[in-house]
């Protein structure tokens, strides 16, 4: 099956089976490697992308179910919020290995887009689907605060 996918503002054609997860379509067919594989069962958030601004786990989303505009870590900097989040992540040097961070940044950008001044509880709720095996949680929280112009505690 050929699917038309709008990824980061560009339309791509992907000829894959309907049950192929969006993650593998992006990575192996379209060569968009930012979204990562960590678990394949919606447990870790490494594969998080936006569809029409909503964060989804691309590892469990069949390509046939995707209708909206897809944004990945490669394209998230095009929005003002995404750019701010990337800047905060850089300034505080959140990453250790960095493998989870594309997913963290996608979740954080979605959070700040809908909730520009999240509380700690809001951050916990929005970010607890994203595992960081290196446990950079202290800095993830601080970077979200910074990107939202709040005190970093």
């Amino acid at each position: 099956m050929a699917y038309k996918l709008n990824v980061n503002g560009k339309v791509h054609q992907a000829d894959v089976d309907p049950d192929t997860p969006l993650l593998w379509t992006l990575r192996d067919t379209l060569g968009i490697l930012g979204p990562k594989y960590g678990c394949g069962i919606a447990q870790c958030g490494a594969c998080t992308v936006h569809v029409d601004g909503q964060p989804i786990r691309s590892c469990v989303t069949p390509v046939s179910a995707v209708t909206g505009r897809i944004t990945t870590i490669e394209g998230v900097g095009a929005s003002a919020v995404g750019k701010k989040v990337q800047a905060a992540w850089t300034e505080l040097d959140v990453a250790q290995c960095g493998y989870c961070q594309p997913g963290q940044i996608m979740s954080a950008t979605a959070l700040l887009t809908s909730n520009p001044k999240p509380t700690d509880a809001d951050i916990d709720a929005a970010m607890s689907g994203n595992i960081c095996r290196c446990a950079t949680y202290t800095r993830i929280r601080a970077a979200i605060k910074r990107a939202s112009g709040q005190k970093e505690a």
Binding site: V16, D17, T20, P21, W24, R27, D28, T29, G31, L33, G34, P35, K36, Y37, G38, C39, G40, I41, Q43, C44, A46, T72, I73, E74, G77, Q86, W89, T90, E91, D93, A95, Q96, C97, G98, Y99, C100, Q101, P102, I105, I123, D124, A125, M127, S128, G129, N130, I131, C132, R133, C134, A135, T136, Y137, T138, R139, I140, R141, A153
Partner: protein, 735 residues
Amino acid sequence: MTRELTGASRREFLTAASASGLVISFAVASKAEAQAGGLSRINAYVQVAPDGWVTITNKNPEIGQGIKTMLPMLIAEELDIPWEKVRIDQADSDPAVYGRQFAGGSMATPLHWEDHRRVGAVARAMLIQAAAQAWNCPAGECTTTAGVVLHKASNRKATYASLATQCAGITPPDPKTLPLKDPRDYKIIGQAKVQYDTPKIVTGQPLFGIDVVRPGMLFAAYEKAPVFGARVASADLAAAQKVKGVRKAFVVEGDPKAVQPQPGQIGGGLLPGVAVVADTWWAAKKGRDQLRTSWQEHPTSAQSSAAFAAKARELSTAKPQRTPRNDGDVDAALKSAAKTVEAAYAYPFISHATLEPQNCTAEWKDGKLEIWAPTQNPEPGRQLCAKTLGIKPEDITIHMTRCGGGFGRRLANDYMVEAAWIAREAGAPVKLLWTREDDMRHDIYRPGGFHYFRGGLDAAGNLVAFHDHFVSFGEGTGFAPSAGMGPTEYPARFVPNFRIDVSTMPLGVPTGPLRAPGSNALAFVFQSFIDEMAHAAGADPLAFQLKLLGDKPTVGEAPALYGAGRMAGVLKAVGEMSGWANRSKLPKGEGMGVACYYSHLGYFAEVCHVAVAADGAVKVKKVWVAADVGRQIINPHGAMNQVQGSVLDGLSEALHQKITIENGAAVEGNFDSYPLMRINEAPPVEVKWVITDNNPTGLGEPALPPAIPALTNAIFAATGKRIRSLPIDPAMLKT
């Protein structure tokens, strides 16, 4: 990802091994070679471009410990260049040029603190020499600042970029003869530097093993037996091959014995299995799902965690198999003690669970093998591939990608040899990727273990007797990998009557180093039991720890030297910063615990503050860390990240992690059954560097071990219930 000078670089440098065994390579290339690509290479680590940018090579694998930034900082400091003009290049595996290249044991700082500064100093001296020759003045009259050589007397200056082309003709000075900077003049060391790859990480650029793409590359999935080392009995290869996109499915005979490491290796080799190669990884996985593989019977298929626990109990009361330490007379001292305590401790197998599952890309061309691997330990991988595939080690090129976590898992290279084998069979470049379930069920696990303690106090509350019957895994007189304990495990040498007995059980499950190997389990049991003794003595646990350390600054000799004075220093510091003295004011259900531990040359004391709810739920409110890793924190940014991450990693192990062995195989396969700490559970971690006049040491590991007993000791303070088995069971804490 590939370096311009890979492979060929071996021939371009003379290697000078210093007395300490550290290697510094210097250019002796012809001018043409040294100036390939418009860049002037001054030595194996330093290249200067005509526009003034300096490229510094990082020799070691980057696994998230920040080494790719930290090692070049050492070179850049003594080279005397602005950090803003530094580019960093990742070396391939090439021990002839770089010496041993690995990420393990928190060793990069102690190994390279000195030699990497000297690499920079040598390059700087050569640039000065080039200027002095051009100006016809003594080199000793020249100075440098920010990438420029100055001759004050004649008011001349020249940029490194303009001088670098002249360095090819200059003999490098003996690095040992060069003076190094006064730390007060440091401009880079001690400054918080953002990781070099951070801009790429936050924009999702391909950096990791899983991101490698080669022209014509195929994708592979590899299925191995749940019971480690079992052979394939049958597999429906035809069904797999029918799946769209699948190119090939085949059985790999492998070596059933490759569960255990060969000499020089960590982790196993090529185990039997079935490979499916396809146009995409998803197709390979779908093909694999059709295999319905059955496996042959295997001698370890009856092993289980429950049986290990039962056997350990039985062994604990039997005569020990050996007694590696026996000071004084423990039995007599226990008999005459004013008070005695007995306790049985246990910890489970746990998995590394690097967030990037094991993977590797391999390509064959003209009998030569090229590999792109997220590995912590490339050279043993080369040897493993050479031996398994029957090729020469020099016909293998290994490129090291950034690793999505390491924690010791990637010291093994099982995934590398699998990729190499499958690529040769497939006749195409192949990226092998393990599923999360493959990764969790084919780990080299942190081994479980059992400790049966007895302790005795005299009338004054001094710890006078200490006995551990350690029941672990192994055969004969050896321990299974990372399942051992040395005879100087603290508080050995601090208690007059001290005995360690050991008994072991055979194990079919592969084990290996996990971040702070040994220590990550031993700190929990020893520091918990010391806390038990403190409470039995009616003492303040922190004061009890200080008393136990005594007043000698050091005990024993290197490599078994224990800096008791340094440990006392961090204990006092953590007591102050945490408000330990006021802990009695905490509300009901809350408590503070303290623990300390020496590992990887670092001294760490930590206090944990917990709240335990009526339903037994444990909330860690804060952790304080006092750390003594010597006189200099090289990159405070990275250092802090390592310590905070290590502490949370330890808490995550204590709160959640457990691999259950049943029927000879690991039960848990993914993060639904093997949870890791998430952000909602992560407390703030406050860190204080206790600066002492010792050489700087590493931070990848030593903050982890004491975090676990600090937590469990805090739970005791909050609830009066002693955690003697991990992970913590909230049901046990219900009130």
